[in-house]
């Protein structure tokens, strides 16, 4: 795997923005009513960082990730806002608003530059396709052109010892494929039983690449594994395959949606180690979605805490764990059993609110120990407190130009 955006990694210390969502709103139109899943989410993910997104289930973590990739399922709809990505040099300044792009553009982007590891490896893998086919899919989709060129080069090189007339035909076909992959002639050929065989070399190349990447993820005997089907692998292995599919095209941003939450502690340790290693070597940035604060503390550089479709706090990981500002973050950190802990565990009373009829004002106020009168009326805006530490809470609202508490 050659890092595609080597330049970006060099610039990681300058903290160039990679992804920015501005006031993202996603609603789900259900029979019960409109579920306001995302309420104006504004996030910034920088190049070269691991960004954690934490919250309880149903708070909109996954919907955020899906909105970024525009794969929100029915009856969900992205209603407003912007998702701006700064992927390559030419749009470094302005960025690309993904919500305004065509579906074709998104298809080319998903899995190639931004890819996603899905939550449940059992559901993410197709049980009727072999592992090799599933991994090669992304190569065949995104790197077809490049592979065609490589095969053509091989065919033209003197080392190639194919049967002579056939070789000439193949050379001609691949030359067409390199020039125009969607050529009508090739499409017709694909429909003809024997004509399809021209793709054999392409498929072989894709398979070779998938064996390569599967092997790189620390799976023993990759040649044998790619012939197998998902049911014959264990949970940890399946998760690795899902990661392999996501990493196949060396994405710039990897979105890991609860990549380890259904795995055992020892397997989880393996996967986290793998992600850390990969981040060093291959990927530029990771957007890690999880509900486990332990994983966040260990792997992330920056963390955003979500509650009921809102962003409540964004901070560097050290600041967040040492000096949590928002009452929800504080309560969440106190509610987790820790390694060195005495006395009883504090809990947050009440339940996560229903997002069809969210509480007015701050959505956390019914459960908040510091709730004030203003919290029931007005929604708190995100305010910057300290370096890179943003929080949405009325407790910190500026009164006469200085913080009322901090």
């Amino acid at each position: 795997m050659i890092p595609k955006y080597a330049v970006d990694r060099g610039r990681a210390d300058t903290m160039a923005t990679l992804l920015k969502t501005v006031d993202l709103v996603t609603n789900f139109y259900t029979y019960e009513g409109v579920v306001k899943a995302l309420n104006r989410i504004s996030l910034v993910v920088d190049h070269g960082t691991t960004f954690g997104l934490v919250g309880e289930s149903g708070c909109g973590k996954s919907v955020t990730a899906r909105s970024v990739l525009r794969i929100v399922q029915e009856p969900g709809r992205i209603e407003g806002g912007k998702v701006v990505v700064y992927l390559d040099e030419k749009n470094r300044e302005t960025g690309v608003d993904l919500l305004e792009q065509s579906e074709g553009y998104m298809e080319a982007l998903r899995g190639d530059q931004i890819s996603m590891i899905f939550q449940e490896p059992n559901a993410a893998l197709n049980p009727t396709m072999s592992i090799g086919d599933q991994v090669s899919e992304s190569y065949l989709f995104h790197q077809r052109q490049e592979m065609n060129a490589k095969i053509l080069e091989d065919l033209c090189s003197p080392a190639c010892r194919a049967f002579y007339p056939l070789k000439k035909v193949q050379q001609a076909l691949y030359r067409v494929a390199v020039r125009d992959p969607d050529a009508l002639g090739l499409k017709i050929l694909d429909r003809i039983p024997l004509g399809k065989l021209w793709q054999k070399r392409l498929k072989r190349e894709a398979k070779r690449r998938s064996i390569d990447i599967v092997g790189k993820l620390g799976i023993p005997h990759p040649e044998r594994i790619v012939e197998q089907y998902p049911h014959s692998l264990s949970g940890g292995m399946k998760q690795r395959i899902v990661i392999a599919i996501a990493l196949a095209c060396s994405p710039v941003l990897l979105i890991a949606d609860e990549a380890t939450s259904n795995l055992d502690v020892t397997i989880q340790a393996q996967i986290l180690e793998l992600l850390r290693q990969l981040k060093h070597e291959v990927i530029s940035s990771i957007l890690l979605i999880t509900h486990d604060l332990g994983i966040v503390a260990e792997t992330c550089d920056r963390v955003a805490v979500m509650y009921a479709g809102n962003l409540v706090e964004v901070a560097d990981v050290n600041d967040l764990f040492k000096k949590p500002l928002h009452p929800y973050t504080q309560a969440l950190l106190e509610a987790v059993p820790k390694f060195s802990m005495e006395g009883t565990l504090k809990s947050i009373e009440g339940n996560v609110p229903n997002l069809v009829t969210p509480p007015p004002g701050c959505r956390f106020h019914p459960r908040c120990p510091h709730a004030m009168e203003v919290c029931t009326r007005r929604f708190p805006e995100m305010i910057e407190i300290g370096r890179n530490h943003r929080v949405a809470c009325h407790l910190f609202e500026r009164v006469d130009g200085k913080n009322s508490r901090a």
């Binding site: 940890g236 397997i267 969440l332 987790v336």
Partner: protein, 346 residues
Amino acid sequence: MEKILELRRLKKHYPIIGGVLRREVNAVKAVDGVDLDIYRGECLGLVGESGCGKTTVGKTMIRLYHPTHGSIYYYGKNGDAAERLDIGSTKRSTLKNLGIRGRLQMVFQDPTTSLDPRMLIKRIIAEPIREQVNLTGRGLEDRIVRLLELVGLSRDHLLRYPHEFSGGQRQRIAVARAIATDPEFVVLDEPTSALDVSVQSQILNLLKSLQQRLNLTYLFVTHHLLVVKYISERTAVMYLGKIVEIAPTADLFSRAVHPYTHALLSGIPIPDVEHKPRRIVLSGDVPSPVNPPQGCRFHPRCPFATERCQNEAPSLEEVDTGHRAACHRKWEVEELVREKFGDQIR
């Protein structure tokens, strides 16, 4: 301390049927020789990876499953030997007539699947009571309301269906159902793993207070080690159908002996930024319990395995008061871990 349950060489094998004659060709050895004493009033944590037989131990212990081999001794209220009864070989009807069924109860993992969606909360909780005692009408309802109040719900919830509740409330209902028959012993099978962090702490605190109020004994089955640390006094670690280490919880977390326990402990992600330990990352997966490895079952993944480990199965031996471990190299492990992984492990 009085014992309440005593497991001796408990085995539970699930047969694999195969061949033309549909005969038993092999067995999944889910639990393969477990010795365990549970004392009255304690909370024993049982941890291990998925598929290691934790749940099967819990279910067999209260005779939801019939054990393949071995015995389960139940000690009655006075705790003397005369009342010792092997519930592993007693008939189910006898168990019910003696009233033992009601004294051993269970809370299941996922409250969405363990509560019947077509039953009212009132009926869900009344079901076990009516099985055990003859109560009807007002008396029954009063008892149900008392139970609901005990778990933090109220009379308003009586005539509702499970789908109207959130995950945490459903688990409260499941707990209320389990304590409906005044049990002495409750198996809690991952009661918090389907719940969110904020709700998890509510349930843990509820369970803790119920234990004190009703004088319950718990077997807390989970894969989450920090939860075990919070709630239980003693902890047993299982690997592939066997107990590899058992110790008072504080002891286990500070002076683990078995290499597997070391790996488990170092694998917990800790919600604390200053604490960044080095990991012992075990290679490979848990082997299949159909054909467990020869000798020590952990040896294919153990970083310190010797030839002896491959051939001879270690037995659970005492290393300290109340601290027992099954490892051939139990006296050297601490040093080996330090040598191989450095001091930062914990």
